[in-house]
C-alpha cells in the first residue's frame, strides 16, 4: 500500500530478485547489433560494410552524440536501422564477432584537466544511464552552471533492483574513483554515492578516507526528487551521474578503455531466473531474456516501472544506458474514467503540484492561475500521480502540455 502522509509512493517489493546477487557474464553471441546513435548519415560512420574492426575501435564519429565503439573484434556485415524504445530510430552495425582475446591495455590519461576529462569521456563513448545523455555533455553542463555537489546514482528502480545498483555493488571502488574524476571535471566540491541500502555493500567503506559519502535514498518513489530536495534544503544544487557512467569514466581514464558494455538487471514476476548480467552493447535482448527464463505472455519494460518504455518486441539490441529490464505479467488494459476528485495525485506529488487541475484544463479548458502555470515547470515527470490515479488519467501528459504551451 502507498503511504500518502509524506508524499511519494512506497511500492511493495515485487519479484524474488536479490539486489546484491553477483553480476553474471553471458556467453558471447555470434552477432552483435551495435547501436550507433547520431550516425544515420554516412559521413558520421567510421567504418564501412565489410570492414574488419578491432575491439574498442570507434564505429562512428557523430557530432551530437558520443561515438560507438566496437565491443569485440569482428567484421561489420551491414548497417540496419532499428526503432529502439530508448534511442528512437537508430542505425546499428551488424557485427560478426571473431573469437579472440582481450585488446591490449592502453596507457592512462596523464592530463586531468576538466577539458581533458571531458574529451576522454567523449572519446570513450560514455553514456549516462540516468539521463540518457552522453557523459561529456552532462559534465559540461554541470561545469557551466557551477553545480557544487555531484552524486553517483547507485539506487535501483523501486520496487525492483537495477543495473546501476548492481554495477556499483560489484565494483564500488571504480565508481568512487570515477565519481571523483567527474567531480574534478565539473568542479563539484562535494561528492556522494546514493544507494538504496548501505548494508548491501559487502566491502569496507570508510567515508572521508578518499571515499565519498554513502547516502541512503530509501524505498520512496521518486527517489531522485526526494534526494534532490535534501540538498535544496541546504541551498545546494546537486548533479546526478549514473554509477555505471562513473565506473566507465574511471576505466577510460586509467586504462584507456571505452564503454562497450553495460550491467543489466532482469527482474519482475515475468522471469523465472532474475539476475544481473554484464553484456556488451548490441547484445540481443532475446538472448538476455532467454537466459533469465522469460515466462509466456509477460510484457517487457525497459527502465523504471514508472517512467520506463515498453519494448515493442525482443529483437531490439541492448544499448549503453539500458540498465534494467522488467518482465511484468501481462494484464488487461484498464479503461479510463472521469476524474472523481480523490486528490491522490496532489497528495503524492513530490513537487506539491495539483496534476488534476492540469487534466481539467486539458479536458474542458478550466482556467489555470498564473501560479499554476508557473508551477507546471517543476514537474519532474515521475508519473507517481498517474500510478495512484484510480481513474487512469494521463496526468503527466496534461502537465507537460501546459509546460510546452499546448492548448486544450
Amino acid at each position: 500500500m502507498n503511504v500518502e502522509f509524506f508524499r511519494g509512493l512506497r511500492p511493495q517489493a515485487e519479484g524474488p530478485a536479490r539486489r546484491d546477487a553477483p553480476v553474471r557474464e553471458l556467453p558471447p553471441p555470434e552477432t552483435l547489433l551495435v547501436p550507433m546513435p547520431g550516425a544515420r548519415h554516412a559521413a558520421f560512420r567510421a567504418v564501412k560494410e565489410g570492414d574488419a574492426v578491432a575491439q574498442y575501435q570507434p564505429l562512428s564519429q557523430p557530432q551530437t552524440a558520443a561515438p560507438a565503439c566496437s565491443p569485440a573484434a569482428g567484421t561489420v556485415e551491414e548497417f540496419r536501422t532499428v526503432d529502439h524504445p530508448l534511442l528512437g530510430p537508430v542505425l546499428c552495425a551488424v557485427l560478426r564477432v571473431k573469437p579472440g582475446g582481450p585488446a591490449p591495455a592502453r596507457p592512462p590519461l596523464l592530463a586531468r584537466t576538466p577539458e581533458a576529462l571531458e574529451t576522454a569521456a567523449r572519446n570513450a563513448g560514455i553514456l549516462d544511464e540516468c539521463s540518457g545523455e552522453p557523459l561529456y555533455r552532462l559534465l559540461k553542463t554541470f561545469r557551466r552552471f557551477g553545480v557544487p555537489a555531484l552524486c553517483a546514482w547507485a539506487a535501483g528502480e523501486e520496487p525492483f533492483p537495477g543495473g546501476t545498483e548492481a554495477a556499483f555493488l560489484s565494483a564500488p571502488a571504480e565508481t568512487a574513483s570515477g565519481l571523483r574524476l567527474a567531480a574534478d571535471s565539473c568542479g563539484a566540491q562535494e561528492c556522494c554515492v546514493a544507494v538504496r541500502d548501505r548494508r548491501l555493500l559487502r566491502v569496507p567503506w570508510t567515508e572521508g578516507a578518499g571515499l565519498p559519502e554513502l547516502r541512503e535514498v530509501g524505498a520512496r518513489v521518486p527517489a531522485w526528487a526526494f534526494f534532490e530536495q535534501r540538498f535544496r534544503a541546504r541551498g545546494l544544487r546537486v548533479g546526478r551521474v549514473g554509477a555505471q557512467a562513473c565506473a566507465a569514466l574511471y576505466r577510460a581514464v586509467e586504462r584507456g578503455v571505452p564503454q562497450v558494455e553495460t550491467v543489466v538487471t532482469v527482474a519482475g514476476e515475468g522471469v523465472e531466473r532474475p539476475g544481473h548480467f554484464r553484456v556488451p552493447a548490441g547484445y540481443p535482448l532475446r538472448a538476455l531474456l532467454e537466459a533469465s527464463g522469460l515466462k509466456e505472455g509477460a510484457r517487457v519494460v525497459l527502465g523504471s516501472p514508472f517512467t520506463g518504455a515498453a519494448a515493442p518486441d525482443e529483437t531490439i539490441p541492448v544499448c549503453l544506458g539500458m540498465h534494467t529490464v522488467l518482465a511484468l505479467p501481462h494484464a488487461r488494459e484498464r479503461r479510463p474514467f472521469a476524474c472523481v476528485g480523490c486528490g491522490r495525485c496532489a497528495a503524492v506529488c513530490p513537487e506539491r503540484l495539483f496534476p488534476y487541475r492540469y487534466a481539467e484544463h486539458r479536458e474542458n479548458g478550466a482556467p489555470l492561475s498564473h501560479a499554476e502555470l508557473a508551477a507546471a515547470a517543476r514537474c519532474g515527470g515521475c508519473r507517481c500521480c498517474e500510478a495512484v490515479c484510480p481513474a487512469g488519467l494521463a496526468l503527466e501528459e496534461a502537465v507537460r502540455l501546459v509546460t510546452e504551451g499546448g492548448t486544450p
Binding site: V301, A310, E333, V340, G341, G343
Partner: protein
C-alpha cells in the same frame, strides 16, 4: 500496488480504480443493511433493491435519451440508491426513496455530465428534496423492537416512536441506553443507527482507500466541538458529545456523505476544512433548523464551498512551493 501490463507508463498502478472504489462502497452499504433487516424484516432489502433499480433505470434512460454511451461500469448509481435508502425510515413507502434517487440521478448527477462532474452530492440532494416534500413521512420512524414490517410497497401503518434526534431537539436526554444506540436498536433512519457497524464500514472504506479519512475527521471534530461547546441536553460536554454523535444521521453522513470524492475538495487542507464546515452546519441546523436530520442540507452547503476551499489551498501551497524553489538557488 499491483502489476499490470499497460502499454504506456507507469506500468505499476494503483489497485484501487474507480469501479473498485464504488464496489467497496456497495459492500459497506450492504453490510449496513444487515442489522435493519434483523430489526425490520426483509422490507428494507426490498426497499434498497427498488431504490437502486430506480437509480439505475434513471441513469440508463438519461444515457439513452442523451444519446451517450450506455455503460454502468462504476456502480455509482447503485451507491446513490443505497445511500438514499439508508436515510429513509424503514416504514416509508417505496416511491419516496425512488423519487429521491430519481431526483439525484436525473437532476443532480447526469445533467452535469455524470460521475466526476456533479457539483453536489446526489444522494444528499435527493434526500433533501423529499425531506422538503414529505417531512412528516420522513421523520416518522417505526420502533425496532416492534417486530418485522409487512412487505407492502406502499405506505404502511405503524406506531411512530420518538428518535434520539427528536428527543435532543426537544431538549431532553434520549431515553435509550447508549448500548442500544451503538447497536442500532433505536428509532431512526434505517441505515444510520448502528454506530458500531458504521465504524466498521468506515475502517473498511479507509483501509480500501474508497473514502478519505480527512473529511470524516474534520466532520467529527467540528461537530464534536460544537456539541461540547453548545450542549442541548443537561450534563457534561462529554454526554452531549455522545448523544449528538450517536443520534440521527450524523455518523452516517461522516462516513458516506461527506466522503464523496467528487463533491469534496481535492486538497488536503480543503478536505479538513470542508468536513469541518459540514460538521458545524449539521449541528447548527439541528439546533436552529426546521428538521431533526440536517446532515444532507449541511453536506450540500459544504459542497458549495469546495471551489473556494480548493482555490485557497492550491494558492497557498503553490506560493509555499515557489518560495521553497527560489530559496534553494
Amino acid at each position: 500496488m499491483i502489476l499490470r501490463g499497460f502499454s504506456r507508463p507507469p506500468f505499476l498502478r494503483s489497485e484501487e480504480p474507480v469501479d473498485a472504489m464504488m464496489r467497496d462502497a456497495v459492500f459497506a452499504l450492504l453490510a449496513l443493511l444487515a442489522l435493519p433487516t434483523v430489526f425490520y424484516g426483509p422490507r428494507v432489502l426490498l426497499m434498497a433493491a427498488c431504490t437502486a433499480a430506480a437509480c439505475a433505470a434513471c441513469e440508463f434512460l438519461f444515457l439513452l435519451f442523451a444519446r451517450r454511451e450506455l455503460r454502468f461500469p462504476e456502480c455509482s448509481c447503485v451507491v446513490t440508491g443505497l445511500v438514499v435508502t439508508m436515510l429513509m425510515p424503514a416504514g416509508a413507502a417505496f416511491w419516496i426513496p425512488a423519487l429521491a434517487g430519481a431526483f439525484a440521478i436525473l437532476v443532480v448527477k447526469m445533467p452535469f455530465g455524470g460521475l466526476g462532474c456533479n457539483p453536489f452530492q446526489p444522494a444528499a440532494a435527493g434526500v433533501a428534496f423529499v425531506t422538503l416534500l414529505r417531512p412528516a413521512e420522513l421523520f416518522s420512524y417505526p420502533d425496532p423492537a416492534g417486530g418485522w414490517l409487512p412487505l407492502s410497497p406502499g405506505g404502511i401503518a405503524y406506531a411512530a416512536a420518538e428518535s434520539p434526534a427528536a428527543a435532543l431537539r426537544s431538549g431532553v436526554r434520549p431515553a435509550m441506553a447508549p448500548l442500544d444506540m451503538i447497536w442500532g436498536r433505536t428509532p431512526g433512519p434505517l441505515g444510520t443507527t448502528a454506530a458500531l457497524v458504521l465504524a466498521a464500514c468506515a475502517l473498511y472504506l479507509f483501509a480500501r482507500r474508497a473514502a478519505d479519512w480527512k473529511l470524516t475527521a474534520g466532520f467529527l471534530a467540528a461537530s464534536g466541538a460544537y456539541a461540547a461547546l453548545f450542549p442541548r441536553v443537561v450534563g457534561s460536554a462529554l454526554t452531549s458529545l455522545k448523544y449528538e454523535w450517536l443520534a440521527g444521521s450524523l455518523l452516517f453522513a461522516a462516513v458516506f456523505l461527506v466522503t464523496d470524492p467528487v463533491t469534496a475538495p481535492r486538497t488536503r487542507a480543503g478536505k479538513f476544512a470542508s468536513g469541518a464546515i459540514a460538521g458545524v452546519l449539521t449541528m447548527f441546523l439541528r439546533e436552529f433548523g426546521r428538521f431533526e436530520q440536517a446532515a444532507c442540507f449541511a453536506v450540500l452547503l459544504a459542497n458549495l464551498c469546495r471551489p473556494f476551499l480548493d482555490r485557497a489551498a492550491i494558492a497557498w501551497t503553490l506560493r509555499k512551493g515557489a518560495r521553497h524553489e527560489t530559496g534553494k538557488a
